[in-house]
Symmetry: C2
Subunit: 162 residues, 2 copies
């Protein structure tokens, strides 16, 4: 992970319920940011009647076509049953389609429909803007460092449920 971070620089000195105390834990800081993101995302997603979990599944499928429902479940830390039901919902809405994996006929390979791709593209700009707003105070170099840190954290925590 290169790191390559140079300068931690003081980025904020705003006083807020989130940081009125010197140093709450990083765990808590991450949770707070995720809560704030989710509130914004829910607002964004509500018009298209998608939950954050559904949206996540769709964007994961856009990057990695043909995952099975069980694989998507592991990615989002929910049970296979929960994800299976969610995929069924998306299928009924015409956003994904499934076909039996010819190499392993137990599995169902899931793909986005063209409708889903169009819909996701319409939201890309808004999601990008949310991300830009979020990292507004960070330099490009800091953003890269931030991404590296997050990746390191995710890898360090592993896949605990399995």
């Amino acid at each position: 992970m290169s790191a390559s971070v140079g300068l931690p620089d003081d980025v904020v000195d705003d006083v807020d319920i989130a940081d009125v105390d010197p140093a709450p834990t990083l765990l808590y800081a991450i949770k707070q940011v995720e809560l704030a993101i989710r509130a914004h995302m829910d607002d964004l997603l509500r018009p298209m009647n998608l939950t954050a979990l559904q949206y996540t599944a769709l964007t994961v499928l856009r990057r990695r076509d043909g995952l099975s429902s069980a694989e998507l479940a592991r990615n989002s830390f929910v049970t296979a049953q929960t994800m299976g039901e969610m995929i069924t919902t998306l299928e009924r809405r015409g956003l994904v389609q499934r076909r039996v994996d010819p190499a392993d006929r137990r599995r169902m390979l899931t793909s986005l429909t063209d409708d889903a791709r169009v819909m996701l593209r319409e939201y890309d700009a808004r999601v990008d803007e949310l991300e830009r707003t979020m990292v507004d105070g960070l330099s490009p170099r800091q953003r890269n460092a931030f991404r590296d840190y997050l990746s390191a954290c995710r890898n360090a925590l592993g896949d605990p449920a399995h």
Copy 2:
């Protein structure tokens, strides 16, 4: 998972569903880390029969005694009713106590009980260890930068619900 055995060099060269693609969004990366944290925290909290939200409320109260239920709700992006019910549950379990705010008799000031403080202290070590595991690959300087970035993000996203 594998890795983490030798290779002190690159923190991440594990191929994983979380980073098989070059650069998913920071939004997604944060969500993934938070999901991983929550899975670990749920495991940690299950023995004491606390949800992540309840634990968060308790630790917030430890830092900022005497918040009202409505304030706690805003901090966690849930409705006042939801937080009110959760605080009632904690009160019945003897983990918090409430008293009317003498300065504004509509409000109920919430405080931890001694029992709650003891319980939280018992878990501090385990939570600290989880955090240490998570940032294992980061230098102290990087950890500080990471904290700054998170704080900047949280502040940039504001309190959308109000």
